[in-house]
Symmetry: C2
Subunit: 295 residues, 2 copies
DNA sequence: ACATAGCGGTGCAAATTTGCGCCACGAGGT
DNA sequence: ACCTCGTGGCGCAAATTTGCACCGCTATGT
């Protein structure tokens, strides 16, 4: 009999998940299965191949030499499957179905989110599966159809369309704005991002429109920045399309917006053939460019 | 969630089997599963991909355009898996386990079979899985580790080692041999292979050591040839290593053996690293070459 | 020295998948 | 006109797989 026919191809999926996660439990969490199942599938695969693929320890599972040999084959299988998935949906000419979109968390309550929402109104047959996350989903593995990113440049085997060249500006609570004067920020606090410690005289402040301002607090994400700034604790610097959307913030006076990063719409070149995805891409591109002054 | 993670990779195995077999029942027979299971896995796969892959009819299942799109991806996945299988077993340095061998049916009762049998005696830890069949098993898909073939040439992405340059000869029953004279086969019947009809004066007989012989009967395989010849119905032409092994036949007088095809030992280049397979290959090569006069 | 958190392994009951046997249907031969 | 064979689909009982709850263990941090 054919020996490969006996083998369960699906077990390779678990093998990959374990190899990436480093433990059966994490792999189980990632795949949606139970850790016992994952471990058992692996054991079965090892029996079928008559080869130990992982060394078991209390810290998790680490690849053996055999496992490292298998890994690239499993990865290529996964790549083929992702390609198949794209090719299949590429032949789907129906203006219906689900478009899977990934955006950074902070973009949900901005014009970007509004345009996505507006798209669904125009296309009642299309569902949007929105995945707001700070870790970018893989277009390669076809986890999502479209990814919207805010970056200087993008790389990889995908197509990147520029939606808008954005600007950033300083924002603050209205009360703080009233107290400001045209003195280069003298006596005003600035909320920093996560710079290294003890850089209260950061270079970028000296080069900013408020060189005399004082750097206080270090906040890692826009939400925290917004929180502190709304409380009147200082100026924060935000992308305009985000800052303008915050009800408790206004642009700080005595400065003009500063060129910032670029808003990208990314997708795998094959996926554009899918009718509903192509439609979404076109809609976002034209509508956001039409309102480029918002960014 | 990751959409490809939901999909059962194993379903593509069934997809491939159906695409090749043309019907769920044949595919089931080939894979060892039930036809209902095969059909249900396909339905599930189609639901997952949201695409009809086969057109159902009473004659079986035929690929849709979607299915044809998917096919090459599934084939590449299978190829990767076969490669993985070879690579894994290639790291197996134990002189133990099973060597899967494929030989043409007629070779079982010949010195080839005897050498295979002798190999097992020298290596008690190694099992031989012998697959005697006229349709050659796929080394590509790793259905077998080693294939022994009788041909003029071999092609494909595999390694071919010459075991012996063989000879063929005319064989007949001992009683018929006694009645023969040195007259070019006058009055003697020759058993043909499956030539087209109405070629009783075939060219190859004119060029043979018995140009005056009469062509009778057309028999497709060596077993039938042997049957008729043993019954004294005429001369048949057989590879020497096969004819010599037939108890009811002797070489016909008044001619010398004629150069024939070559005995090949074929294997995928990766599989030689597997210790037990390498051992088998070496054993067969050296021992058959040592007895090359038998062929 | 202790507590905690995360790891792989395992027994058991529930959920899922499978194989079997049957159905209706249509093509091809008699 | 009839019969046979092979097809996909479906219901039901058996077999398998899964998830859950544990276990013992070991690093890590308190």
């Amino acid at each position: 009999m054919d020996r490969l026919t006996q083998l369960n191809w699906d077990d390779l999926k678990f093998f990959l998940a374990i190899a990436r996660a480093g433990s059966a439990r994490k792999a189980a969490h990632g795949t949606g299965a139970n850790h016992a199942t994952v471990a058992r599938r692996l054991t079965l695969l090892e029996e079928m191949l008559d080869a130990r693929l992982f060394d078991r320890s209390q810290q998790g599972l680490t690849l053996t030499r055999m496992g490292e040999t298998l890994l690239p084959y499993a990865e290529r299988m996964e790549r083929e499957l992702a390609g198949a998935s794209r090719a299949i949906s590429g032949q789907d000419t129906r203006i219906a179905g689900t478009v899977h979109v990934s955006i950074p968390y902070f973009m949900v309550n901005t014009p970007v989110g509004e345009h996505i929402a507006a798209f669904t109104a125009d296309n009642p047959e299309i569902q949007i599966a929105l995945q707001a996350s700070n870790q970018l989903a893989s277009l390669q593995r076809h986890e999502v159809d479209v990814s919207i990113r805010y970056a200087k440049e993008v790389a990889g085997d995908m197509v990147g369309t520029v939606l808008a060249h954005c600007q950033k500006a300083f924002y603050c609570a209205p009360g703080l704005a009233k107290r400001m004067a045209d003195n280069g920020g003298q006596g005003i606090d600035i909320l920093g991002w996560n710079e290294p410690h003890d850089e209260s005289d950061a270079e970028w402040i000296k080069a900013s429109p408020f060189p005399n301002a004082n750097l206080r607090h270090r906040l890692a994400e826009g939400a925290s920045q917004t929180l502190f700034a709304t409380a009147g604790l200082g100026l924060c610097i935000l992308p305009c399309f985000y800052g303008d959307a915050q009800p408790g913030l206004i642009r700080a006076p005595y400065h003009d917006p500063i060129p910032d990063r670029t808003l990208w719409l990314l997708y795998h070149k094959d996926i554009r053939d899918t009718a509903r995805v192509g439609l979404f891409i076109d809609y976002m591109t034209t509508n956001i460019r039409k309102h480029s002054s918002d960014f």
